[in-house]
């Protein structure tokens, strides 16, 4: 049974949702040092070092339980440093003051979200001991509070705006711990939290889109995969607060909310059903002997080197296989809990026989653990220690299913359906203490200038520059918007600039030209050469192709290299005259009627070195002379 097509009355269900949006800023330097905010490849690393982290007390004398838990495992963290890394990032030098550009952008975003800026912004240390910060904490500051945005379904309050440092990127697990790359550490990041005012999946998406539009209107946010992360908090009246981490795509937010509502509704139904059946979770047992002669590969290796742990789920029959989200069942939830404790997953009787487990083995298993017709059994096969931990977690999660929908942190899955998986329990309140190395900042609200919104840009590009609505939107929301505006300010024709930045580059990419190598200076330089008449519009593609092949060239050098150095009007006239000479008969017969045919030939003769309009004018004049 699938609920995929079920319609929900969100008001009746009591849907409450909120968003937390994390966006990297595209500033010149990092938040607490003068290093660039560019990403690097791990292979470019020039040095590496290793560290351990130890939990510390907050200034109120409290230890962070989560930090203590995390640090029980003695993990060694290895950091990759680059020629662009400094001692601040290595936690070997006190941080500089808060980057002024990042603070200005954060305040700008705050103003657009109608937030009250704080009189005095204090930098805090949020304890994080998973190694993703060399210091063992993330520096973060509350910049503004109590704002609001509009959506078509009503206002959504903005709880707060934080400016913080991005963590180091995880490269891979190592034998003893984790390897991190320091290029990402310290990139400024804003975190925007809405109030729990969102009442439908569509409103969640609209709110996220609106906030995203505000962010991009600054022209100072990073673009591309991983530069924006959305967390969604969802609950329904009978369900529980669930935090969903890491939604990468805006257009998935409604699906994520819908699916979470569906999951909670299904869990409530399962709970009611289990209660009416008087369901119960039995004792965990060692069922290894049942599978001594099994043909199932997974079970066999556990029998040989570990154990098969089982837990009878009395009166669960049929419900473990009940779908909660597309292709995700209650059994999947149990499996997630087993995975968190190191197991590969679980098998349960609602899905067996399968995976090499036979009917006879299922029957033997049920009998062994004392399960009957109406009961289910879940098993975990792993080394003994893991199997014990994992089956306990499975049993605990099954017990909770009889009682309620659990509060938890979930992660967005990498699929198009917008499903999620269990990650961990909800975190407690973060432990924070003051960052004593950085003095507080007192923002001056009179210095905040709010930028033109992207929606306003779309209108202006149409009214002022005559772009059509589609192209105006494409440019305004595109990543080259700041470059477009710079070019237009420098006198480049807007339609031409928009066409080059949006269409030409796309065409070239389709033709396998490595356009990602073109810098903003390349693009602007070429546009200006055309504007100044030093390059024909028709030569733009060739120059870009040349620059993409040899990015070390200047646009002028590339023009030379592509053999497109401009021709003056005399040369154009000369070339046109030759073409007309060659086709004198046609000209005599057709007069201006020969224009189109000869235009192509004239352009070919000039091989893109001359502007089409200049050629056309010369050709028109030449034909005029002869007729």
């Amino acid at each position: 049974m699938s609920d995929a097509d079920r319609e929900y009355d969100y008001g009746e269900l009591g849907l409450v949702a909120g968003l937390e949006i994390h966006q990297q800023l595209d500033t010149a330097t990092k938040l607490f040092c003068a290093c660039p905010t560019e990403r690097r490849e791990p292979e470019e690393s020039t040095r590496r070092f290793t560290r351990f982290l130890h939990p510390t007390k907050s200034e109120l004398g409290e230890l962070d339980e989560a930090a203590v838990e995390e640090s029980r495992v003695d993990r060694e963290f290895e950091y990759l440093a680059f020629d662009s890394t400094c001692l601040v990032e290595e936690d070997d030098e006190p941080p500089s003051r808060v980057d002024a550009e990042a603070m200005a952008v954060a305040l700008q975003i705050g103003a657009m979200l109608d937030l009250e800026p704080m009189d005095q912004v204090h930098v805090m240390r949020k304890i994080v001991v998973d190694g993703s910060n060399t210091s063992g904490f993330q520096r973060t500051m509350l910049v503004g509070q109590d704002g609001e945005i509009d959506t078509s379904e009503g206002a959504v309050g903005i709880e707060d705006l934080m400016l913080e440092e991005e963590s180091a990127g995880r490269v891979e697990e190592t034998g003893d711990g984790v390897r991190y790359s320091l290029d990402r550490l310290g990139i400024p990041l804003v975190e925007i939290g809405t109030k729990p005012d969102i009442r439908s999946p569509e409103q969640a998406r609209e709110a996220a889109e609106t906030i995203g539009m505000f962010l991009r209107s600054t022209g100072k946010v990073k673009r591309g995969l991983g530069t924006i992360r959305q967390d969604v908090n969802v609950s329904i009246a009978e369900g529980a607060r669930v935090e969903i981490k890491g939604v990468q795509a805006l257009d998935q937010i409604d699906a994520i909310v819908e699916n979470e509502v569906a999951r909670q509704v299904a869990l409530v139904e399962i709970r009611d059903e289990l209660q009416s059946r008087d369901a119960e979770v039995g004792e965990v047992q060692d069922a290894t002997e049942v599978f001594e002669d099994t043909e199932s590969g997974v079970l066999k290796s556990a029998v040989d080197g570990g154990k098969v742990a089982a837990v009878p789920l009395y009166a669960f029959d049929g419900l473990v296989g009940r779908e909660l989200q597309p292709d995700r069942r209650l059994g999947t939830e149990l499996s997630d809990h087993a995975k968190r404790h190191g197991a590969g997953g679980i098998f349960h009787t609602d899905e067996l026989p399968a995976y090499g487990v036979t009917d006879e083995e299922v029957a033997a298993l049920k009998e062994f653990v004392g399960a009957g017709e109406d009961d289910a059994v879940a098993i975990v096969a792993a080394d003994s220690e893991t199997a014990d931990l994992a089956i306990d977690a499975v049993a605990e999660r099954a017990r909770v299913a009889i009682e309620a929908v659990p509060e938890e942190t979930r992660g967005a899955n990498d699929d198009d359906a917008g499903t999620t998986r269990y990650l961990r329990p909800l975190p407690g309140a973060a432990r924070m203490y003051p960052e004593t190395d950085v003095p507080p900042v007192e923002p001056d609200p009179s210095e905040i200038e709010t930028p033109e919104l992207l929606t306003e840009k779309v209108d202006r590009y149409q009214s002022e520059h005559g772009l059509d609505a589609g192209l105006a939107e494409q440019v305004a929301y595109g990543r080259r918007m700041p470059l477009f505006e710079e070019a237009v300010d420098a006198g480049v024709d807007a339609t031409f600039a928009a066409g080059v930045l949006e269409s030409t580059l796309t065409e070239l990419r389709r033709d396998d030209v490595p356009v990602e190598r073109l810098t903003d200076d390349h693009l602007l330089g070429v546009l200006l050469l055309v504007e100044e008449g030093d390059l024909a519009k028709e030569g733009v593609n060739d120059v870009f192709a040349t620059l993409a092949e040899s990015p070390e060239l200047t646009p002028e050098e590339a023009v030379e290299e592509a053999g497109l150095s401009g021709v003056d009007e005399d040369e154009v006239r000369e070339a046109v005259a030759e073409v007309v000479d060659r086709n004198s008969e046609q000209v005599e017969e057709q007069g201006m009627g020969a224009f189109s045919a000869l235009m192509g030939e004239a352009m070919g003769a000039l091989r893109g070195k001359a502007d089409g309009e200049v050629v056309s004018e010369a050709l028109r004049a030449e034909i005029g002379k002869r007729t």
Binding site: F49, G61, D91, D119, V129, G136, T140, M432
Partner: protein
């Protein structure tokens, strides 16, 4: 309304509840919100209502009286294990045991040695510990009188059976204190100085590894005064430096301490906990315990630089001793040579060191040097200028011929051979 109260603050239509924190500026209230963030709110524009008094103890920073521990002695009373050696932990304050000072917003020292045990649980099971506080100061406030107290305290701990001593010290002046103890003490057990460059209130602090390695070194065989600090920016090994040859050579790095003129004397591997040495050292039990804490107070270290006001040398009149940090092989401006001659004639011992730090002085090479020798300056070999100052203070108070002693090694401060690769 006091720090620690739970309050509700209204300002410009926004209401916040939280715990009032001490503020470092009079114009702002600092509030700790539910989520943990501190924020500053303009005092004049804020409406404050106290909801509950004294929710948290966040009073003004402690004055070091040690009363903040409400007599919780049992927490640090570690069980005695006959099989383990006894290590005395002596605290003088400093970054290894520091916490936030709300008056300045900076970090200050306010823990005693037992807090260190609590702060560094990794020390448990390595030794039986005896904690002791000799001072609670920032190391830039170190005084020679505290060196003397420290030497007496170490002497007493060893006399009472300590198998090794660890001195927790701020890093700024650690090399001076280590030198002082090296001259004052004949020790049959290791005396190991350690501290931290990155404050103990951060999970990444170097205090844990430094303290653990210092305890391992205190249990080892080298009965000298050592400095044990990070050997690199990684948490993999601590370097063991001879106290008289070590120098803080970086303001902030974990591996700021370096042995000048040679590689460190030894190493403590953090993972394997093995202690190894690469040169000769004085072994455990070789020396009979003795302490000679007397110091001459009237000794100055003077750095010569071009353009220096000759008047700066006038205040040296009547000093017991002067250590000159000269240029190159050990020079000052030729015009100053007669002035130095006068000092020597007046009975001041004048010793020459070099601001090159690496290498030994040699005043026989150039005329200025020969003139300085003629004027009565004694050469301190490759002794570090700071160490030479401490040495001269000690030598003037304890030896018959301090000038002669400046030219030979008393505690490893002067290397007979220049072998920087060893």
């Amino acid at each position: 309304m006091n720090p620690g109260d739970r309050v509700r603050v209204e300002r410009a239509g926004v209401t916040n509840e939280g715990v009032l924190m001490p503020s470092s500026t009079p114009e702002h209230l600092v509030l700790k919100l539910e989520g943990g963030y501190n924020v500053g709110i303009d005092r004049d524009d804020a409406d404050v209502e106290v909801l509950e008094s004294d929710v948290y103890e966040v009073g003004e920073a402690d004055d070091g009286s040690g009363e903040d521990d409400d007599g919780d002695e049992s927490a640090s009373a570690v069980e005695f294990d006959d099989d383990l050696p006894t290590v005395a932990l002596i605290s003088t304050g400093g970054t290894i045991a520091s916490t936030v000072d709300y008056r300045t917003g900076a970090v200050t020292a306010q823990f005693d040695a037992e807090d260190v045990l609590r702060a560094v649980p990794d020390l448990a099971g390595r030794a039986n510990y005896r904690g002791r506080v000799v001072a609670n100061i920032l190391s830039e406030n170190m005084e020679p009188s505290i060196w003397q107290e420290l030497a007496e305290a170490v002497h007493e701990e060893i006399e009472n059976g300590a198998d090794g001593v660890v001195v927790m010290h701020g890093t700024d002046t650690m090399q001076y204190s280590a030198s002082a103890l090296a001259f004052m003490l004949d020790t049959p057990v290791p005396v190991v100085f350690t501290g931290s460059q990155r404050s103990a209130d951060r999970p990444s602090s170097d205090n844990v590894m430094n303290a653990v390695c210092a305890v391992e070194a205190a249990k080892a065989d080298c009965a000298e005064v050592l400095v044990c600090m990070h050997g690199s920016e990684s948490d993999d090994a601590c370097a063991l430096h001879r106290g008289t040859r070590v120098r803080k050579n970086h303001t902030s790095r974990r591996d700021a301490f370096e042995t000048v003129g040679a590689r460190p004397l030894g190493e403590v591997d953090y993972e394997s906990e093995t202690v190894s040495f690469r040169r000769e050292y004085r072994e455990r039990g070789e020396a009979d315990l003795a302490v000679a804490p007397a110091l001459a107070g009237d000794v100055e270290l003077v750095k010569f630089t071009p353009g220096m006001d000759p008047a700066a040398w006038e205040y040296l009149d009547g000093k017991d001793g002067v250590v000159v940090e000269g240029t190159g092989l050990g020079h000052v401006h030729t015009d100053l040579v007669p002035r130095i001659g006068e000092l020597v004639d007046d009975g001041t011992t004048v010793a020459m060191t070099s601001q090159c730090l690496e290498g030994r002085v040699c005043d026989r090479v150039y005329d200025t040097g020969r003139d300085l020798l003629d004027a009565g300056v004694v050469e301190a070999g490759d002794t570090l200028p700071g160490t030479a100052k401490v040495k001269l203070m000690w030598a003037l108070a304890n030896l018959d011929d301090p000038a002669e002693a400046m030219g030979r090694s008393l505690a490893g401060e002067l290397q007979e051979q220049s072998r920087p690769w060893t």
